[in-house]
C-alpha cells in the first residue's frame, strides 16, 4: 500500500530569463515501510521534489500535478496543513539553520506535541525527553534546556529527527540529512534512521547526492537529472545493469570505482617537515583551543600526502600553518630543511611562490567581482613575474591547462559551475608554478561526477608539473584512490600515518578503523545489505 503517490509533479520558478522548470512531470509511489532513495546531482530537482511533498516551496514557485496521501491531494493547502507534522515529517541538510536559535531544544521538540495533540507543556516536555532519548542523545534531560548553538552538528540533527518523530508520522522525508556531518556521525545517523525504519515501520524518502549513503539504507532508488526521473528500481539492479547513460556515469564516478591514481615514490627526500608543530588559540574564558598539538610529519618530494580527519581534527589548520596563514605557537615548519616560520617580506613572498593552495568552496574561493582571467593572471603580475598584459595571456594558457574553454575568460565566478570554479582555483594556484600544492577538501562541495573529473585533472597536473600534493580530506575512499601516503588526525593530534596501502590494509589505531568502517561505499554496502 503506498503511503504517498506523486503524479505528474512539476515545479516552476520564475527566473531572470523566463520560468525555470525545476521538476518536470515526475511520478512515483512510496510503499509503506520502505526507504526510497532519491539520488541526483545538484540542480536535479531531487530536493525540490522532496520539499514539494511537504508544501515547503517558496511562494513564487508554481506547482503542477498531484501528491496523493490517503486519498487527499496534498497540493491543496488544507490537506497539506492537516497532514504535515502529523503524518509526514521532514529532516533537513543543515541542522544548524533549521533550529530556532532563540528556543531551547526541549521546547522545540515539544512544540508539535502541544499543537497537534493538545498536550500541556509539562506533558509535552516529558514526551520530548523520551524522544531525545530515543534518538540517542546522551544526557537528554540535561540537554532539554540547552540552546541549539550549544550542541554539535550531529546532536542538532538528532534533535531535528526527534522533532520530526514527535507526532509519530508515517512518512519521514530526509533531505540530505548527513551531508553536513562527519563520516562517523553520518554512520550513526544512518544507523539511527535504519533502526527507526525497522522498529516503527517508518516509511522514508532519503534524498542524497551520494550513492554510497543511499546504498547504506535504501531499498529502492530513483535517479533524477535536470528535473526528470531517468531511472528507478532496486539499487542492486540499477548498479549491475544501469539502463541510462547518466546512471552509468554516476556509478563509475563513485570514488570506490575510480581507477587507482597513486604514484608511489617511497625514497624521495622530505620537502616539508613539521616538527612538534602546535597551534593553540585562546578560546572562551580561560580555555585554550589546541587546534594542532605536537604534530611531527614530513612530506616527501613528489608524493601525494593525504591529511585525513573529521571537523575539528586540525587538518585544515595544519595546511594553513604550512602556507603561513596561521602562525604556529610551537614547533617548527621546515621547507627544504630551512625554517619558514615567521618569514617576512621578500623571503615570505618567495616561499609563497613555492607553496600554493586550492580551497574547499568553489564559489567562495574566487572573488565574485573579478573576471576569471584576471583572477588567474593576478598572481603573476602582483609578483612581478609578468606585465599585466603578459599575465592575461598566460592566464589563457593556464585555462587550457586546466581544461577550461577560453570563451569563459571574461566571466565572473557567479556564472560558472562549481567544477569550473574549482578549475579556476587550480589554475590560479598553478600560475606561480609552485612545487607544492595544498588541496583543502577541493572536491567535497562537488558532485561525484565532477569530483572524478577534478581528481583526474589533479593527477595529470601532478605528473606534468612534478607537484608535491598535500590532499586534505574527510573522504577516505577518495584518499585511498588518490594519495600515496596518509596521515590521520583527530582533535589536533596525529593518530596514525603510513602509506595508503598499509594504513588501509592494517589500521593501527582504533580511530582509523572506525573512520574506514564508517566511510560509505557503494560496493561494500551492496555486498553487506544484499
Amino acid at each position: 500500500m503506498s503511503v504517498i503517490s506523486i503524479r505528474n509533479l512539476s515545479v516552476t520558478f520564475p527566473g531572470d530569463a523566463g520560468p525555470v522548470q525545476a521538476v518536470k512531470d515526475v511520478s512515483f509511489d512510496l510503499e509503506e515501510g520502505e526507504i526510497l532513495g532519491i539520488v541526483g546531482e545538484s540542480g536535479s530537482g531531487k530536493s525540490v521534489t522532496c520539499r514539494a511533498m511537504l508544501g515547503l516551496l517558496p511562494r513564487r514557485a508554481t506547482l503542477g500535478g498531484r501528491i496523493l496521501h490517503h486519498g487527499q491531494d496534498l497540493t491543496q493547502p488544507a490537506a497539506m496543513q492537516a497532514a504535515r507534522g502529523r503524518d509526514i515529517a521532514m529532516i533537513f541538510q543543515n541542522p544548524a539553520s533549521h533550529l530556532d536559535p532563540l528556543m531551547t531544544i526541549g521546547d522545540q521538540v515539544a512544540e508539535p506535541l502541544i499543537f497537534h495533540f493538545g498536550m500541556s507543556r509539562a506533558e509535552a516536555r516529558a514526551e520530548a525527553l523520551k524522544l531525545l532519548d530515543a534518538v540517542q542523545i546522551r544526557d537528554a534531560a540535561g540537554r532539554m534546556s540547552a540552546y541549539p548553538h550549544q550542541l554539535s552538528g550531529g546532536m542538532k540533527q538528532r534533535v531535528l529527527i526527534a522533532t520530526a518523530l514527535a507526532c509519530r508520522p508515517k512518512l519521514l522525508l530526509a533531505d540530505e540529512p548527513t551531508t553536513a556531518l562527519d563520516v562517523t556521525v553520518q554512520a550513526e545517523i544512518l544507523a539511527l534512521l535504519k533502526t527507526l525504519n525497522r522498529e516503527r515501520n517508518l516509511t522514508m524518502a532519503l534524498v542524497s547526492h551520494d550513492l554510497g549513503v543511499i546504498a547504506e539504507i535504501c531499498h529502492r532508488v530513483i535517479v533524477m537529472r535536470q528535473g526528470e526521473i531517468v531511472e528507478s528500481g532496486r539499487l542492486r539492479d540499477l548498479v549491475h545493469a544501469p539502463k541510462h547513460d547518466y546512471t552509468r556515469l554516476l556509478i563509475t564516478s563513485q570514488p570506490g570505482r575510480l581507477p587507482q591514481m597513486t604514484d608511489q615514490r617511497p625514497d624521495s627526500a622530505p620537502l616539508i617537515e613539521l616538527r612538534d608543530l602546535s597551534l593553540h588559540f585562546p578560546g572562551k574564558g580561560d580555555k585554550v583551543v589546541r587546534a594542532v598539538d605536537g604534530v611531527s610529519l614530513s612530506v616527501r618530494q613528489g608524493e601525494c600526502l593525504a591529511i585525513v580527519g573529521e571537523s575539528g581534527s586540525g587538518k585544515s589548520t595544519v595546511a594553513r600553518a604550512v602556507i603561513g596563514l596561521n602562525a604556529p605557537t610551537g614547533g617548527d615548519i621546515l621547507y627544504e630543511g630551512r625554517s619558514v616560520v615567521g618569514l617576512k617580506g621578500e623571503a615570505l613572498t618567495a616561499f609563497r611562490r613555492k607553496v600554493q593552495m586550492v580551497f574547499q568552496s568553489p564559489f567562495d574561493s574566487l572573488n565574485p567581482r573579478m573576471s576569471i582571467q584576471r583572477t588567474i593572471a593576478e598572481p603573476l603580475w602582483r609578483h612581478g613575474l609578468a606585465t599585466k598584459a603578459e599575465a592575461m595571456d598566460r592566464a589563457l594558457e593556464l585555462m587550457d591547462m586546466v581544461e577550461l574553454p577560453r570563451s569563459l575568460a571574461g566571466r565572473r565566478p557567479g556564472m560558472l559551475s562549481g567544477g569550473q570554479c574549482q578549475r579556476v582555483g587550480i589554475a590560479r594556484a598553478l600560475a606561480l608554478s609552485p612545487r607544492v600544492l595544498i588541496a583543502d577538501e577541493v572536491t567535497s562541495a562537488l558532485d561525484v561526477t565532477i569530483q572524478a573529473q577534478i581528481l583526474k585533472l589533479l593527477t595529470r597536473l601532478r605528473k606534468e608539473q612534478d607537484l608535491t600534493v598535500i590532499y586534505i580530506s574527510h573522504d577516505l575512499t577518495v584518499v585511498r584512490k588518490f594519495c600515496d601516503r596518509v596521515a590521520v588526525f583527530r582533535t589536533g593530534q596525529l593518530v596514525e600515518s603510513g602509506t595508503t596501502a598499509e594504513v588501509y590494509a592494517d589500521p593501527k589505531a582504533a580511530y582509523t578503523r572506525d573512520l574506514i568502517a564508517a566511510a560509505p561505499d557503494l560496493d561494500q554496502a551492496l555486498a553487506g545489505v544484499t
Binding site: 507534522g85 532563540l102 528556543m103 499543537f115
Partner: protein
C-alpha cells in the same frame, strides 16, 4: 552567572569611553572661536568688564590646567556652574532631564505598537497592496522635515481645530500627555517609518529562514510560527536600531522642543552652544554620552536576554 560576567564586562568597557568623552567635550568647546563672556554680559559691556569676568572664571588659564580642574570637579560629581546663569550645571540639567525623558517615553509608547502593527501587516502580506501602501507611507514619513510637519500640525490641530496645545509641558501626568501630544506625534511620524522599514525587512528575511521551513514541516500554523519564532528572531536588529534611535532622540528632540516651546535638554544645549556656555555644553555632552551608553547597555542586556548566543 554568564549573564553577570557579561554585564560586568560591558560596564568595564564604559570607563575608557567616558574618559575619551570628557576630553572630546572639553576640547570641542575650548578650541572653538566665540566669546561666552560678551554674550553673558550683554553687548553694552565694557572691555574691562569682559576681561574681569574671564579672569574670574579662569578662562584665561592654560587649556591643560582648565581640563584638569574640570576633570577634578567632574570626578567629585561637580559639573561646574553655568557661565550664563551662574547656577550649577547639574541643577539646570536635572530640571530638563525629566521633560526630555518623558517626551521620549511618550514617543516610544506611541511608536512601538504602531511599528509592530505596520511591520507585521506589511511582512505578512509581502508584495500585496497593504505592504505597498505601508512601504510608501514609511518612505514618505522619512522624507518630511520634522520642523515643517510640526509647524503645520501646530497650525492645524492647535489653532484651527484647537484640539491640542501648541506649547508647554503641562501640569501632572495627563497635562504632560496633553501638552506633549503634538511634539510626540511629530517625532513619531518620522521615527515609526524608520523602525517599520527595519522590522519589516527583518521579518521578511526571517520568513525565508530555514528554521521557519522546519516549523512548517512540524505542521505548525503560520500564525503560531510568526508569533513564536519569526517575531522574536526579527526583533533583535530592530531593538538595536531602537537603541540607536533613542540615543539620537535625546539630542534630536531639540527641533520639536523649539517648535513646540517645550524647553528640554535639546533646547538647553542649543542655548548653551549659541551662548558659548562652556560648562553647560560640557556637562550636557557628558550626560548625553552617559545616557547613550546606558541606553546601549540596556539594549545589549535585553538582546542578551532574548538571544542566548550573545552571552555565549
Amino acid at each position: 552567572m554568564h549573564y553577570l560576567t557579561f554585564i560586568g564586562r560591558r560596564l568595564l568597557h564604559i570607563v575608557p569611553v567616558l574618559i575619551g568623552i570628557s576630553l572630546v567635550s572639553f576640547l570641542l568647546v575650548m578650541l572653538v572661536p566665540g566669546d561666552p563672556v560678551r554674550l553673558v554680559l550683554g553687548p553694552r559691556a565694557t572691555d574691562d568688564a569682559v576681561a574681569a569676568m574671564r579672569e574670574a572664571w579662569g578662562l584665561d588659564r592654560s587649556l591643560l590646567s582648565q581640563y584638569l580642574t574640570y576633570v577634578g570637579n567632574v570626578v567629585q560629581g561637580n559639573l561646574g556652574d553655568s557661565l550664563k546663569y551662574r547656577l550649577p550645571v547639574w541643577d539646570l540639567i536635572a530640571q530638563y532631564l525629566p521633560r526630555t525623558a518623558f517626551l521620549i517615553g511618550y514617543v516610544l509608547a506611541m511608536t512601538v505598537p504602531v511599528t509592530v502593527l505596520l511591520a507585521v501587516t506589511a511582512a505578512r502580506r509581502e508584495g500585496d497592496w497593504p505592504d505597498q501602501v505601508i512601504r510608501l507611507l514609511s518612505v514618505l514619513g522619512m522624507t518630511i522635515p520634522v520642523f515643517w510637519l510640526a509647524v503645520i500640525f501646530a497650525r492645524l490641530f492647535g489653532i484651527q481645530l484647537g484640539w491640542f496645545p501648541v506649547s508647554g509641558y503641562g501640569e501632572g501626568f495627563l497635562g504632560h500627555l496633553h501638552h506633549l501630544f503634538l511634539p510626540a506625534v511629530s517625532t513619531s511620524l518620522w521615527l515609526a517609518p524608520v523602525l517599520t522599514r527595519n522590522l519589516r525587512g527583518a521579518l521578511v528575511q526571517q520568513m525565508d529562514a530555514d528554521y521557519v521551513a522546519a516549523c512548517r514541516a512540524k505542521g505548525l500554523p503560520e500564525r503560531l510560527i510568526f508569533r513564536r519564532h519569526i517575531l522574536p528572531n526579527s526583533v533583535l536588529p530592530t531593538l538595536n536600531l531602537l537603541g540607536v534611535m533613542i540615543a539620537f532622540l535625546i539630542g534630536g528632540s531639540v527641533v520639536v522642543e523649539i517648535v513646540y516651546a517645550v524647553p528640554g535638554l535639546g533646547a538647553l544645549m542649543i542655548g548653551a552652544v549659541l551662548g558659548r556656555d562652556y560648562f553647560v555644553i560640557q556637562g550636557l555632552t557628558l550626560v548625553y554620552a552617559l545616557v547613550t551608553v546606558l541606553v546601549t547597555l540596556v539594549i545589549d542586556l535585553l538582546t542578551a536576554a532574548i538571544d542566548p548566543r550573545t552571552v555565549g
